[in-house]
């Protein structure tokens, strides 16, 4: 479930943006202050952040810094008012995804947010995939791992059997186990999976 988190101390802005994003079917959660969001944040929280720079209490930039230090990788879009552009550019260099100057072209903002949400979903999926691969690799035995490396290197079963000093039959059994455990059907698929992980 991916959500747009709007952090802005102006209730009208939160409400108006909520109205706007709902018209484009983007789920929205509003936070009245940086502190409130920081409190609620969890690493598994998915989606995108729309941060106002100038706020009562903690500023948007400070919240961004805190989140970065806690390992948050959600894309962040800054909303800037008059005269905040240099600050926003600086934030971009630190890894913010985008900034939008007020007053904004609303549908363009929505498009950017949707992009960011998609990016986040993709990023999470990729991370989730990588986490599965590592788990699957962990189930392999020593011998299976050796066989797998040689398969990925493009060796034939016979060559593998020679190199490892085992029978063709044994290689085939290991090979089928590797494919099964790695949930792939062909050697090409396995190679792609491993190189992609690398």
């Amino acid at each position: 479930m991916t959500t747009l988190h709007i952090v802005d101390d102006d209730e009208a802005i939160r409400d108006a943006l909520g109205w706007l994003f709902q018209s484009r079917n983007v789920p929205v959660a509003g936070w009245p202050s940086a502190e409130a969001f920081l409190e609620a944040w969890r690493p598994e929280m998915a989606g995108c952040l729309l941060l106002d720079i100038r706020m009562e209490g903690m500023s948007g930039l400070e919240l961004f810094d805190r989140l970065l230090s806690r390992g948050c990788r959600m894309p962040v879009i800054f909303l800037t008012g008059h005269g905040d552009v240099p600050i926003a550019v600086n934030a971009l260099k630190k890894g913010a995804r985008d900034f939008v100057e007020k007053p904004f072209n609303d549908n363009e903002l929505v498009d950017r947010v949707i992009d960011a949400l998609a990016f986040d979903a993709e990023q999470r999926e990729r991370e989730a995939g990588q986490a599965g691969l590592a788990a699957r690799l962990a189930t392999l035995t020593q011998r299976e791992r050796q066989v797998m490396e040689l398969v990925v290197a493009g060796r034939l079963n016979k060559v593998i059997a020679d190199e490892l000093g085992i029978s063709m039959r044994t290689v085939e059994v290991h090979r089928s186990h590797v494919f099964e455990k790695m949930r792939v059907k062909t050697a090409v698929e396995l190679t792609r999976l491993l190189t992609g992980a690398a």
């Binding site: 009208a12 108006a16 706007l20 018209s23 484009r24 909303l79 008012g81 007020k102 609303d106 549908n107």
Partner: protein, 704 residues
């Protein structure tokens, strides 16, 4: 009287002390020599005189001794003749007594004549011995013995014999002279003459001798037997005692027996006179020495004073040479009598060119001669300002400088005023620094205004962005729903209401800003536009002077008043004038001229009272055509430090006063090919309407 400034050092070389001491000692030495020689001369004189006196004393003493001898001899002759008479015949006693009396009476030195027989008994005494006593009762006990001695000697020698001195009565001493009497060869007695020393001296020493010497007869033991001294005039004081140092002793022989004559000289009268003379001479010498000494002291004091004066002069000179303040003394007619080096450096002229110079001074500015002359007259009349007078002067090389002058009366030693002393400070740097500080202050104010403005604009933008963003979001959200066709009318209506609320919020922000900017209502009242313009010319004076711009105001005296806020109108005129002045930065210096003209227009054609048309014309770079369109748009500026508010606000103010503000380029006076010869800004203001004036006055009061 101050000494004229001289460049060359004129201090005399200090004379050496030893060199001065020699001529100083000369009169003293001469004086001492005179005293010594005089003393020597007097001493010599004294010695000569003493020698002479001693010689005279001896001569006189010898003479008197001889005289006494002669007298004694003469007396003895008489006694001898008497003795012969006794020896020759039987003597008639009475006759003899008469003869003896005659001898005694005619020879005062002979006190008594005695005729003794061979046994020494007194046969006859003339004058007769007193009857009441034995012979010798009134003499010493050995009276007859001494007499007998003399008689014996006379008898044995057959010659006269002298007896030793003895006391013959209470006051007198004398001696005996015995003549032996032989009758027919047999000793029959002796004739004795008793001589009195006193009588001898009294009668045989002349008065002049007694006047000069004291003559005494002394015996072996030094006892005075008789004396003759100066006659003392009764009633006068006793004369000086004889000088024992000047005496001469001659043995008195006969009568012998160790008797001696002592002549002692009296101090002579001439001695006293001479002592007085010498004393007078010494007194004179002393007084000469004293006067010499006091003269020397006087000279030394004078030398010290001269030295002190020289040092003082050197000190003063060093002081005035080291001064950076220019000093200038003038006499009562205003002619320069003295200048110090600092003043010469200041005006770049030699002292010779300045001293004696009368007004107009060479350092006066040609265009300010009248002012300088007036200032000089003020000073001469004693009306110089105590806080100093600021003037602009000219150096010899044409450079100009600002001077601050303080004047003080110049009083001479007698307390009379002889002129005026002025100290001149070059304050060009100071003035420059003041001007710089003023500009900096102005720039600072401008910057601070700019910062305030920037902050305000930033806040304004933020405050407005919030509702505007919300409005845009509501709006887009509504549109998205409307387009998609999937919407709930109530929902959209609620969103639109929220949108309207945000629009109202934006409006409130704008109103708040407006309230903040317009802190007070204009103070509308009839006011003189000419006065406003004059004030503005005064206020821009410093800026204009800095850029060398001449500002000319042409305002008729009989202008009617306008209705308006004096301060706001001043802001308009000041702004336009500053723009004009700054526009002429690249105009040749001689052409920098800002003309402010005001005229009444209209009013005669029945359209109210007409308007006042003010024209502010510069000779600057003009307004480029592409700028002309945007000149009045907000936040447009041609200046680096400008905010682009000025002209826009000016126009707002003028329009608020029901007037109009515009500008026109001015074609070059000489050639039409010149793009522009400056710009003129014009604005109109309606003349204050008399009947409604009371109402607007009231409203103005109400506003206050």
């Amino acid at each position: 009287m101050p000494l004229p400034y001289r460049n060359s050092g004129s201090a005399a070389p200090p004379s050496s002390r030893s060199g001065r001491a020699v001529p100083h000692a000369m009169p003293l030495v001469a004086m001492a020599l005179v005293v010594v020689l005089l003393g020597a001369f007097l001493w010599l004189l004294q010695r000569n005189e003493r020698d002479e006196e001693a010689l005279a004393l001896i001569k006189d003493a010898l003479w008197v001794e001889q005289n006494l001898h002669f007298q004694l001899a003469s007396d003895e002759d008489k006694l001898e003749r008497l003795a012969e008479t006794l020896g020759r015949t039987e003597v008639d006693l009475r006759q003899f007594a008469a003869m003896a009396r005659l001898v005694v009476n005619t020879n005062p030195a002979i006190e008594r004549v005695l005729w003794l027989d061979a046994q020494g008994r007194t046969m006859l005494a003339e004058p007769p011995l007193p009857r009441d006593g034995t012979p010798g009762a009134d003499g010493p006990p050995d009276d007859s013995l001494t007499r007998n001695d003399a008689m014996r000697i006379a008898r044995s020698s057959g010659l006269r014999a002298y007896g030793p001195p003895y006391r013959i009565d209470a006051t007198d001493r004398g001696f005996d002279v015995a003549f032996p009497l032989f009758r027919d060869g047999a000793f029959v007695g002796a004739l004795v003459g008793v001589f009195s020393f006193e009588a001898m001296l009294t009668h045989h020493v002349p008065w002049w001798f007694a006047q000069r010497y004291q003559l005494e007869v002394i015996d072996v033991t030094g006892t005075v037997l008789g004396a003759k001294s100066r006659m003392v005039v009764p009633g006068s004081m006793a004369g000086p005692a004889p000088d024992p140092a000047r005496s001469h002793v001659i043995p008195f022989d006969p009568p012998g027996h160790g008797l001696a004559l002592v002549a002692t000289a009296y101090p002579s009268d001439s001695n006293v006179t001479r002592t007085v003379l010498v004393a007078a001479i010494f007194a004179l010498t002393g007084s000469a020495l004293w006067s010499l000494w006091s003269l020397r002291r006087h000279i030394a004091g004078r030398l010290r004073a001269e030295e002190a004066l020289r040092e003082e002069h050197a000190f003063r000179k060093a002081m005035e040479d080291s001064l950076t303040v220019g000093m200038r003394a003038r006499d009562l007619e205003g002619r320069i009598t003295y200048v110090n080096p600092a003043f010469c450096r200041m005006v770049g002229l030699e002292p010779e060119a300045l001293v004696g110079c009368g007004p107009p001074m060479p350092y006066w500015l040609p265009e300010e001669i009248d002012r300088a002359e007036a200032a000089l007259q003020d000073v001469l009349a004693g009306r110089a300002p105590e806080t100093g007078l600021e003037m602009r002067f000219r150096r010899a090389n044409g450079e100009r400088f600002d001077a601050l002058i303080y004047e003080a009366p110049l009083i001479d030693a007698n307390g009379r005023q002889t002129g005026w002393m002025g100290s001149v400070l070059d304050i060009t740097e100071r003035k420059h620094a003041e001007e710089l500080a003023r500009q900096q202050q102005e720039r600072l104010q401008q910057t601070s205004r700019l910062i305030t403005m920037g902050e305000m604009a930033s806040t304004l933008a933020h405050e407005l962005n919030q509702p505007l963003s919300a409005i845009a979001s509501y709006c887009t959200g509504c549109l998205n729903r409307l387009r998609s066709g999937r919407f709930d009318t109530d929902e959209v209506a609620a969103a639109l209401e929220k949108l309207a609320a945000q629009a109202k919020r934006a409006g409130q922000v704008v109103r708040r800003i407006h309230d903040f900017v317009r802190k007070r209502d204009p103070n509308v009242a009839p006011c003189s536009l000419a006065q406003v313009l004059e004030d503005c010319v005064g206020l821009t004076g410093a800026d204009a002077a800095r850029l060398g711009v001449r500002v000319e105001l042409d305002a008729p005296a009989d202008l009617p008043p306008v209705t308006g806020d004096r301060i706001l109108l001043q802001q308009v005129v000041l702004n336009l004038m500053r723009n004009g002045i700054e526009a002429m930065a690249r105009t040749p210096r001689g052409d920098r001229r800002l003309t402010v003209t005001v005229r009444q227009e209209g009013g005669s054609d029945g359209a109210g009272d007409g308007v006042l048309l003010t024209e502010i014309r510069d000779r600057g770079c003009g307004v480029a055509p592409d700028m002309a369109e945007r000149l009045f748009s907000p936040f447009f500026t041609t200046k680096r430090e400008g905010m682009g508010m000025g002209l826009n606000i000016c126009r707002s103010i003028v329009e608020h006063h029901r007037g109009r503000l515009w500008f026109e380029p001015v074609a070059a006076d000489g050639g039409p090919d010149d793009a522009s010869a400056g710009t003129r800004f014009l604005f109109t203001l309606p003349v204050h309407a008399q009947p409604s004036g009371r109402i607007s006055d009231q409203s103005a009061e109400a506003a206050e």
